[in-house]
Symmetry: C2
Subunit: 157 residues, 2 copies
DNA sequence: TTTGCTAATGAGACTCGATCTCAAGTCACA
DNA sequence: TGTGACTTGAGATCGAGTCTCATTAGCAAA
């Protein structure tokens, strides 16, 4: 991801705050800069840890308060992979409709986009009398590496 | 759903327990009978409440211990709709690969099956070098009723 | 049946991600 | 600068789910 797009996402979020009459605080700046300086999927706790490197005053509460703003702005996507914590994806500013396939054996996550999938989803929803607001296709699978070697990077194995 | 299929599911689960050298206790019987006497999606807490009507000695611990057995047997499906609790679906004995569309406004859940979706998922996974183990497509949407009347059954609205 | 082994149980402590409370601090605008 | 609403951090609290451990109860062999 180009640095250009990244700082664009940051700008968009600051504008989003302004539009909602929300204040641009040092803590929010630290959090947003953290979010848009990585391509990685992250947890709330990771975001807290990383943000504190930029501004040690960032608290857990502020991270948890800012995350809903980030998802509401559409720049970050909240995901549920069946763990007991949520995972956040900062790549939605640029790729708003991608999905994920997860290797249950090594926790690898691969992103993919599919026009046909989107079309099919809309078709199904329409037939059922719904208007799609969002969708999440989660595929749990076993990756090639696992099949080949029985290798496993998972903690505790 | 026919009572026939229901008691078949119950039998299947008891056989599953036997195969794994697990004991058929009164509590497990109460839980299983509860699960397969409804078509509704339910939470762990609901299952506890309902099971206790059949056997008041059923404990929360036993419900939470039995649920993984039910899902492992393939007769019940565990789902994540982005809430902080899981939802269980007893309709998988008969319809193993259906998906769900949820109305964000009134919490209505509609099930659907799609051959084309399944095919597409397998195709995508194969291209990425994965072997599908399970999938969950969640579509969040707005249902016809909501569009028409602006009605809203949701608690607190 | 009785016995004996072992799995299974209930009560309640505990975990941990997430939310809430509230007094203190700070941003934005005049 | 002053003002007031917005925002903050610390820590209490919540709630779904897990774990512990003393006790109970399947179940198969005798
Ligand atoms: Mn992604
Ligand atoms: Mn279902
Ligand atoms: Zn893998
Ligand atoms: Zn609705």
């Amino acid at each position: 991801m180009a640095d250009l797009e990244r700082s664009a996402a940051k700008e968009k979020f600051l504008n989003f705050l302004e539009q909602k009459n929300l204040r641009i605080t040092n803590q929010r700046r630290a959090i947003v800069e953290t979010v848009f300086s990585t391509d990685q999927h992250f947890t709330a706790e990771q975001l807290l840890e990383w943000s504190r490197k930029r501004d040690s005053s960032v608290s857990r509460a502020t991270v948890y308060r800012t995350l809903p703003l980030l998802t509401e702005s559409g720049l970050v996507h909240e995901m549920d992979f069946g763990k007991d914590y949520k995972i956040y994806d900062p790549n939605y500013a640029d790729h708003p409709n991608h999905n994920h396939i997860i290797c249950d054996d090594c926790d690898k996550i691969v992103e993919f986009e599919s026009e046909r999938l989107e079309t099919l989803e809309n078709e199904i929803s329409q037939n059922l009398g719904f208007t799609v607001k969002s969708q999440q296709l989660r595929i749990n699978a076993s990756c090639e590496d696992m099949k080949k070697l029985g290798a496993c990077n998972k903690k505790g194995h």
